[in-house]
């Protein structure tokens, strides 16, 4: 997030797109509700009539995968109506004129033909956001899990740059990070393109520095993403893999491909707290100590660095992951794995990461620091981009983005859009919530289908259906609900017995290689 969570109570216009926040980030959503109570206005764009849509002032029910069209239409109106923040654009951005020229062709009427939202509503939303004193954008995976995820994000950035809604209190572009420490996994260097602290691996100075630090020459070449790694594994070109705390087989798209890839490895090591579907494929399974048993650090979606602490002893012989990995490193003869505590590891991270240079184990314990914290004595940075943007010129660059269809679109054979997501009471593949009594609320997966579609496809509310896509099929129970619009159905990927990832996986964003998990054409058959 560009802005801290506390800022969520301060906007006068909220634009929430592709975020089912009351279910996926419920506590953050309480802050938006407080802003509404205080008089803020909210625009919600989502294909599904999610709970946030129910409390929105303007609800934009766009077709799945058409965010770019909607956002171009909004940019068009903002430009046409002269709602741009000229002073901000002049001082802090570049390529504005070319962008304005670009958006003049994309009228709301054009957008309507693609995204299905009435042009008048696109106008209203654009006017509202364009006139906001403090406009804040919130998004989640509904924006990024598309083949055009980067285009979607850039379209949102364009809106914020046009209106100067960035770098100030109560504004910003705010992605809500999904997992408890997904931010931290990236911060700590678990990325193919960056060393710890988001230092590009392709910068020879960085490569040299980390080569010295780690006692092994590291090539200044980007590694490959997990998506590519699984492809190489499937082709027999990758031989050993270690997976920590991820149930890849159930969470990743195209399950059959994923299973083949993992089985094709000569050597798979899985570190986890349960024998997950993924761990069952491993050659070696190493038991990790769990949350509440492990000391360490998490960084949340607002870049706040916080300590987690052990309250109870680990089960059985389970060990902290850093210890397990260090043991493997030592046994492979690598230097630099002689840590004695989580503190040793974290303090090493702080010593090599410029954004953590001003924190350490003790400071992380206060929970008050938002990175970047570039030096000792620095108070941290709750709000990004107040003076400049992280680009070579320090300016925000408008991007001329165009709409393109999802990787696969509906057809006679697969006439229904499937979109996937999460539910309040379950988390990912239920490795945790499935063992914590949450079945009381959601005992099984259901497919949310509009009542008209239930009739149209000959299904029955509460009955079973077979959902068929180009890569496979699953069977699950039908729930008739107008949360789903006509022509689009929804289910979560939480239940192993409804492995919806046998269907998903048509395409990937070309830049980030993030899978298009939000769009998959299917057909529905009664069982």
């Amino acid at each position: 997030m560009s802005n801290p969570l506390a800022d969520m109570e301060k906007p006068d216009v909220i634009f929430a797109i592709g975020t089912n926040m009351t279910e996926c980030h419920p506590v953050a959503a309480t802050r938006l509700k407080k802003a509404l109570r205080r008089g803020a206005t909210m625009i919600v764009a989502d294909p599904r009539r999610i709970p946030l849509a129910e409390i929105a002032d303007i609800y934009l029910p766009l077709r799945v995968g058409t965010d770019v069209a909607l956002l171009l239409g909004m940019a068009h109106v903002i430009e046409r109506e002269g709602l741009c923040d000229r002073a901000f654009i002049e001082a802090r951005t570049e390529d504005a004129e070319a962008f304005f020229e670009h958006v003049r062709q994309f009228t709301p009427e054009w957008a309507e033909t693609i995204c299905g939202v009435p042009a008048a509503d696109i106008e209203r939303a654009a006017l509202l956001y364009g006139r906001a004193e403090r406009g804040a954008i919130y998004y989640t995976l509904g924006i990024t899990e598309h083949i055009c995820g980067v285009d979607n994000v850039q379209s949102l950035c364009n809106l914020a740059l046009m209106t100067g809604n960035i770098g100030r209190e109560g504004t910003g572009i705010n992605p809500m990070r999904g997992q408890n420490n997904i931010q931290g996994a990236g911060d700590a260097g678990g990325l193919p393109n960056n060393f710890p602290g988001f230092l590009p691996v392709t910068d020879p100075d960085n490569a040299r520095r980390f080569s010295e630090l780690y006692g092994r020459e590291i090539e200044p070449v980007k590694g490959i993403t997990k998506v590519r790694a699984l492809e190489l594994a499937a082709e027999g070109k990758l031989h050993a893999m270690i997976i920590a705390g991820e149930n890849t087989l159930v969470s990743d798209p195209d399950r059959a491909h994923c299973q083949h890839a993992l089985e094709n490895l000569d050597h798979l090591v899985v570190i986890d707290i349960f024998l997950t579907e993924t761990a069952e494929l491993a050659d070696v399974v190493l038991p990790a100590s769990a949350w509440a048993e492990t000391d360490g650090v998490f960084t949340n979606t607002e870049r706040r660095i916080q300590r987690v602490r052990a309250a109870v002893p680990a089960q059985g012989q389970a060990k902290p992951e850093w210890w397990i990995v260090a043991q493997i490193g030592q046994r492979m003869g690598a230097p630099g794995f002689e840590w004695h505590s989580a503190q040793d590891v974290f303090d090493e991270l702080c010593s090599v990461s410029p954004i953590y240079a001003g924190v350490d184990w003790e400071k992380a314990g206060t929970g008050k620091y938002h990175w970047p914290v570039p030096e000792q004595g620095h108070p941290g940075t709750p709000r990004l981009h107040e003076d400049e943007f992280p680009s070579p010129s320090g300016k925000g660059k408008f991007m001329r983005v165009g709409y393109r269809d999802p990787a696969e679109v509906v057809s006679e054979q697969f006439p229904v859009w499937l979109t996937t997501g999460r539910r309040l009471q379950h988390y990912h593949t239920r490795t945790m919530t499935g063992r914590a009594g949450m079945h009381f609320f959601v005992p099984q997966e259901v497919l949310e289908v509009h009542p008209d579609d239930v009739a149209r496809w000959g299904l029955t509310d509460g009955g079973k259906c077979r959902m068929v896509g180009s890569r496979g099929a699953v069977e699950l129970r039908v729930e008739a609900t107008d949360r789903s619009p006509r022509g689009t159905v929804f289910c979560s990927f939480s239940f192993g017995d409804v492995p919806v990832n046998v269907l998903t996986g048509a395409g990937y964003d070309p830049v980030t290689e993030t899978a298009e998990l939000k769009v998959c054409p299917v057909r529905l058959e009664p069982v």
Binding site: G190, T225, A229, L238, A240, D252, V308, I324, L424, Y427
Partner: protein
């Protein structure tokens, strides 16, 4: 105040009152109760939660203001310049004790298990402080426990309810869910949901906020209460919720080696005391019987079997060393966890970089 007030200079207008004979400055808009808290006064209250709008329901926080005939509720009265307030006089204390006698007459339980909720000891503590038994006004009783609501998370023991409305207000003001409401008056007052049904059939999301603000334990954490009979003392360890990226601060409640409950941290920077159903109640996985308790290696028969750490770690290391030896440096790969702490991701990226010299590492953010 009946004296004519001279218009003072803005700087003096901004800020000074007297509390128990002591001068104290305040911020415009601050209530007398807030000032008293800052001053370390022990003004009793049962309906107050600093996150919620002032309510003035329990009347225990009454104070005397010079120039006013009757005591006023300090939680709903704003401090004004020149105001002279007394927070603890024999009259006030007698008044408070009488009010407590009335409250306690309906709440026979002299002890409430602290596992019920964060605020569950508030009434019990005031009862002890004022030496109140509840016998003075014994008789009528309001509130009836919903024994039919068998959900495994929130106990609705309304026999302990004192109609402070904190649960109703936290649900509306803090959560924005408006799932519970008040019905009836006086002894007929009932905290209820739409159509007087079960919580699971209402708009309740089971975030547990009502449980954590209840001052009597009438609303209680059933999961934590499973450990009521365990003899060990309750320990609280500050940590962060393991679910989404919001990063809510929590206190882990344990008894001995057992994790028994979760409490939202009021001073947590990301959540300020809020939690959701997962953070509040979904912790049983930690000590679940399915936990992996020993390393496993795949045996010659193709099945996973238990192994010692030494054997398993040697096997893990050897497989990576062999791949690098046989197929070169672009043959190994690591996926870091988005759930484990930084130290895990840091160690695993270092493992790949330091053993292969490549950047063949990623985390689970792409799917």
């Amino acid at each position: 105040m009946n004296q004519p007030i001279q218009t003072p200079a803005p700087s003096t207008l901004a800020a000074v009152m007297e509390m128990d004979g002591q001068e104290v400055s305040f911020t415009p808009g601050e209530t007398i109760y807030e000032v008293s808290q800052r001053m370390g006064r022990q003004v009793p209250t049962l309906c107050y939660d600093d996150r919620l709008d002032p309510f003035g329901g329990c009347r225990l926080c009454v104070v005397e203001v010079e120039g006013l005939r009757n005591p006023v509720a300090s939680c709903t009265t704003k401090a004004t310049p020149g105001m002279k307030v007394h927070t603890k006089t024999p009259t006030l204390e007698r008044h408070r004790k009488t009010l407590l006698e009335l409250v306690v007459s309906e709440n026979p339980k002299a002890t409430i298990d602290p596992l019920r909720g964060s605020a569950s000891q508030e009434l019990v503590q005031l009862r002890t402080r004022y030496g109140v038994t509840g016998e003075r006004f014994a008789g009528h009783h309001s509130g009836q426990s919903r024994t039919d609501d068998a959900n495994p998370f929130i106990l609705r023991d309304y026999d302990q309810c004192i109609s402070c409305y904190r649960c109703v207000r936290v649900c509306a003001e803090q959560e924005g869910d408006y799932a519970i409401s008040v019905r009836g008056r006086g002894f007929e007052t009932k905290i209820t949901t739409e159509f007087d049904g079960l919580l699971q059939d209402s708009a309740c999301t089971f975030c547990g906020q009502c449980v954590q603000t209840c001052p009597t334990g009438a609303l209680a954490d059933r999961k934590a209460m499973r450990a009521q009979a365990d003899p060990e003392p309750i320990a609280a360890t500050r940590s962060v919720c393991p679910y989404c990226g919001v990063g809510c601060s929590v206190d882990l409640l344990s008894k001995g080696d057992k994790l028994v409950g979760i409490r939202p941290a009021r001073d947590g920077g990301a959540n300020l005391g809020a939690l959701c159903v997962k953070g509040q109640f979904a912790f049983d996985f930690v000590q679940h019987e399915d936990r992996l308790r020993t390393p496993l290696v795949r045996g010659d028969d193709g099945t996973l079997r238990p192994a010692s750490w030494d054997e398993a770690l040697d096997r893990a290391a050897a497989g990576f060393a062999k791949a690098l030896h046989d197929h070169g440096r672009h043959s190994t790969y690591a996926i870091a966890s988005g759930r484990a702490p930084h130290e895990s991701a840091y160690a695993i990226q270092k493992l790949i970089r330091a053993t292969s010299g490549t950047n063949y590492v990623d985390n689970c953010s792409r799917a």
